[in-house]
């Protein structure tokens, strides 16, 4: 197996994909076509966290593949056919990334280890469950994987959450103070002319 070239080519695709999400998806009710693979995640402290295989179990909405932003994810995958000169794409509501590959060695398998923070700064990671789509298309075939991952991290460590906690009361304040205002309903007219019967000095002799 030619590790060096693989990572640069098609397999780099899987690297990104498998790194955090891709391999996570292909399981149970998750869909995978044109390829298969396994992935396992480890906590940032080095303890085993979760594993998934496609086809197999895990990576579904009810049983997402759990990863930690700083925890490494090891994966290996195989494509059903040799795919060369193509494009890979990983999309989710957390982030999207894509690239091209050549796979001159015509490899059908690859493996690697990646962390989510290799692609997203830890401060910008938003915890929660995400649907992830991975696709590889090129000459000779294609591979598509859809699954769910759960990013296990403290919400209060995310800049997005902190910003939202600040914006929430601010937005409510804007809505409350933005109510329509009646103009001059009770105010006295500003330019009331003085009564002609009353001299300005009070009529003193």
């Amino acid at each position: 197996m030619h590790q060096g070239r693989m990572r640069r080519s098609i397999v780099a695709v899987a690297v990104v994909a498998g790194a955090t999400l891709a391999a996570a998806g292909p399981a149970g009710a998750a869909s995978a076509s044109g390829c298969s693979g396994e992935a396992s995640s480890v906590s940032s402290g080095g303890e085993p966290l979760d594993q998934v295989s496609a086809p197999g179990g895990g990576g579904t909405r009810s049983d997402p593949f759990t990863v930690e932003p700083d925890g490494p994810v090891s994966w290996d995958g195989q494509s059903d056919t040799v795919i060369t000169d193509g494009r890979w794409e990983v999309t989710s509501s957390l982030f999207s990334t894509s690239g091209t590959f050549d796979n001159d060695d015509e490899d059908q398998s690859s493996e690697g280890t990646k962390k989510m923070t290799d692609y997203v700064p830890a401060l910008l990671v938003l915890p929660g469950t995400y649907e992830v789509d991975v696709s590889v298309t090129g000459e000779g075939g294609s591979c598509a994987v859809t699954g769910f991952i759960e990013v296990d991290a403290s919400p209060l460590a995310s800049a997005w959450v902190i910003a939202s906690l600040v914006l929430l009361p601010l937005s409510l304040l804007m809505l409350i103070t933005g109510r329509p205002e009646a103009l001059g309903a009770l105010a006295a007219p500003a330019d009331t002319p003085p009564s002609p019967t009353t001299p300005p000095d009070g009529g003193a002799p």
Binding site: V161, L175, R179, G184
Partner: protein
């Protein structure tokens, strides 16, 4: 009574937009929903509708009565 009403549509729409964005982020972060892009857009749209309601459908605030000299 005067029928003149001063509205603040930009302020309300911005408030609704920010409300929708912040709620969708918090819902995702605390695991209340799996936010797909369509879900996030839906939550933000609800915020914008709230902004429109606040700007055009709420009854106008009455100005405070001026103090009467005795």
């Amino acid at each position: 009574m005067s029928a003149d009403v001063q509205r603040h549509p930009f302020k309300c729409l911005l408030g609704g937009l920010l409300l929708g964005i912040s709620l969708s982020i918090l819902a995702q972060a605390f695991g209340l929903v799996v936010v797909a892009s369509t879900t996030a857009v839906g939550i933000i749209a609800v915020g914008i509708v709230l902004g429109i309601v606040a700007a055009y459908a709420l009854p106008a605030k009455r100005p405070k009565a001026a103090a009467h000299p005795s």
